[in-house]
Symmetry: C2
Subunit: 407 residues, 2 copies
């Protein structure tokens, strides 16, 4: 291959983010290109969860709500996400799932106007569309989904809320957040950004882009563990005007006054609902602490170097795969996807060869290029094995066509 194993190793040795790899547990021999779906285990999570379970829960028990500040975890962990997304610490909380947070923001944002349309993109991550259709049905609104290329043209005075995913889960195409937010705002539209495939890898400046509302996933590039709680961003000026449809006690102005009447908390806290999931929050906090010292600029520069190497190697050695991800950095995220009629089987054969990417129906194989812990040699090994699988037709073995529950 044109980029040799020796060159890959040299690139790793010169990588300023290389020491961050040691903060993660990466199984021996495995090339993990799925950190955009489930981030790798931060080593610190093991000890931290152990302490939370054995000391805080086991010994301190209920007292930990105060003594270990369990009660402040949604805000504390949110504040650790803030610098990764260009937000102020008091503009981010961690709670619930991305789906549930999206519902809160959609209903709250729709309540700001009398307009009747929620606009989104056809082929957006489907949970976003389903949540939006549910919110629209409840509120008597219409959910309109436009093809990607037509979304901007559809921005108009009847639209209440524009819901977009910043980086597309499949193609990795990226919207221009600042330009679209401004264009929508000019038309009186509130935009909600789903940052699930951006946060922790792609540079984000929510404040600079004038973004008002956003949600994102805790278990992808943020390495919070399987099913980690999600985050929710509300720009300061909007915080006092939004009302959550999910009026749980943690969003109450005085949760421990136990009053029958609902009074929303000041600030973003009103977007909390039920009791915070302390074990999951602890794991996510460990994931975020693993970013300590890695600037967003450095992460993105590394992500781009990984992208160029991987793209080049695949182009040269796996010509059957058609890249559907834009080349230009400002037009994409930190994963790369390829089309192939047998993407599913190829993905399974790769897993058998200890290279983990993932399949996205109907014909896409997707690789996450996590800048925090991936190395250039990982990419070299992955393409080397993939080239062999394609060259030898290994993927045609019947066992690679067997589908599991999650594919």
């Amino acid at each position: 291959m044109s980029f040799t194993l020796a060159e890959a190793r040299a690139a790793d040795a010169a990588d300023p983010l290389r020491p961050f790899r040691d903060r993660f547990h990466l199984p021996q021999g495995l090339v993990y290109l799925d950190g955009n779906s489930l981030g790798a285990l931060p080593k610190a999570a093991v000890g931290r969860l152990g302490r939370v379970i054995e000391e805080e829960w086991g010994e301190e028990l209920i007292r930990s709500w105060n003594s270990r500040d369990w009660i402040g975890a949604p805000q504390r962990v949110g504040a650790k996400i803030a610098p990764l997304i260009g937000a102020k610490p008091n503009e981010v909380i961690v709670a619930d799932s991305t789906s549930v947070n999206l519902f809160k923001l959609l209903v709250a944002a729709a309540g700001l106007s009398d307009r009747k349309v929620i606009l989104s993109e056809a082929g957006n991550f489907h949970t976003d569309l389903h949540i939006a259709s549910g919110a629209a049905d409840l509120l008597g609104l219409q959910l309109e989904i436009a093809p990607r290329a037509e979304v901007e043209a559809r921005i108009g005075a009847d639209v209440a809320v524009l819901l977009l995913t910043h980086v597309h889960y499949k193609s990795a195409e990226r919207f221009d957040m600042a330009r679209i937010t401004a264009k929508a705002a000019e038309a009186g539209i509130v935009t909600i950004w789903d940052l699930s495939h951006s946060a922790g890898a792609v540079p984000l400046d929510l404040n600079g882009a004038g973004a008002e509302l956003a949600v994102g996933c805790g278990y992808k590039y943020l390495n919070g563990g399987p099913g980690a709680p999600a985050f929710l961003y509300v720009a300061e000026p909007l915080q006092g005007r939004l009302l959550s449809p999910l009026r749980g006690w943690m969003g109450h102005a005085e949760p421990f006054a136990f009053t029958d009447d609902y009074r929303p908390a000041a600030g973003i806290d009103r977007m909390l609902a039920g009791t915070p999931p302390i074990l999951s929050l602890a794991a996510l906090e460990a994931g975020l602490d693993a970013f300590e010292g890695a600037t967003p600029a450095r992460l993105w520069s590394k992500a781009n170097a990984l992208f160029d190497v991987f793209h080049g190697l695949v182009e040269q050695n796996c010509p059957e795969l058609v890249c559907i991800t834009p080349r230009l950095p400002e037009q994409r995220g930190s994963h790369i996807s390829f089309r192939h009629p047998n993407a599913f089987e190829i993905c399974q054969a790769l897993i058998a060869a200890d290279v983990i990417g993932d399949f996205r129906a109907p014909d896409v194989v997707r690789f996450g290029l996590t800048p925090l812990y991936l190395g250039f040699e990982d990419l070299w090994q992955a393409v080397d094995r993939m080239a062999a699988i394609l060259r030898d037709g290994t993927w045609r073995e019947p066992r690679f066509a067997v589908r599991g529950k999650v594919t």
Copy 2:
């Protein structure tokens, strides 16, 4: 005291549930009477979480969704709750928080009729009332809250949904589930039961009572850990008729087909929303496994013995405390509450004396009598220390009046 320490120890020795105590970590010297707020740590949770974190997440990574059946956790863990609440295994799932689950069921149940009223109890746990008021506002319904004694009389043809908490969080008063469910059903009303202060201690027979919908908490008597995910019950006949307002991808008929259109899953799965929180689910599963071999009947018989002993000891040795919990077993749950103008200070002084109960505003001190791991000597010790605090006026020390974030 009339029930002596020697008698307490003899009662412990004769207790058929005594071996279950060894399944929990109970700090040396501490009397923990707050298992109805946060259950104690099941010893098995430590190893199980360790394995989930280090092996399933760390080594298996994304593959665990299939290989370790992460994807089936909401149903698998729900099926373990089923026998504790008198439900079929396919009628219970674990997901989200109690607040969020309540919202799903309220909106879904309201969608079954054109009626305009959600009826609940004044002084119900406030998150239930807040969630209901949010749902009512969204749907253009009225939330009516009636004093406890008047709830039944208010059952009428304009009520869509009756929302009641089976055992009251403060007084421990219990509603007659079978009778009220039947009376409501006769009037065409769907009842939602909140089982947060019942499940795991109080005998429940949802199927036998004709209950259609219920939610409940995972971190109280079920010992799932701080902020554990909650459960949700939908009786089989209703499952195909309910639609969740939170249409997350996990409730889709084909979550991995990635289609723009929403099609609800068959059965109770449609009530799932976002990605399941695997770490939290693992802890809850360990909590439920600790019930293995303890029948609901035996739990309740033990809970009653604990209640009688505690009630008797307090009546005799702490006459300043006024019990607000009914004596008769069928009228109450498994905690006991007392009124005192200085309940807050008494509670704090007890904590300083290593007896943990909790304070509920404005003037209640509450003790959870967890049948699975509490012993009679625990109760003797607690009352012995409380009697001394009251006798000596220790609670008057200024430090016991200092309020924390969570009180």
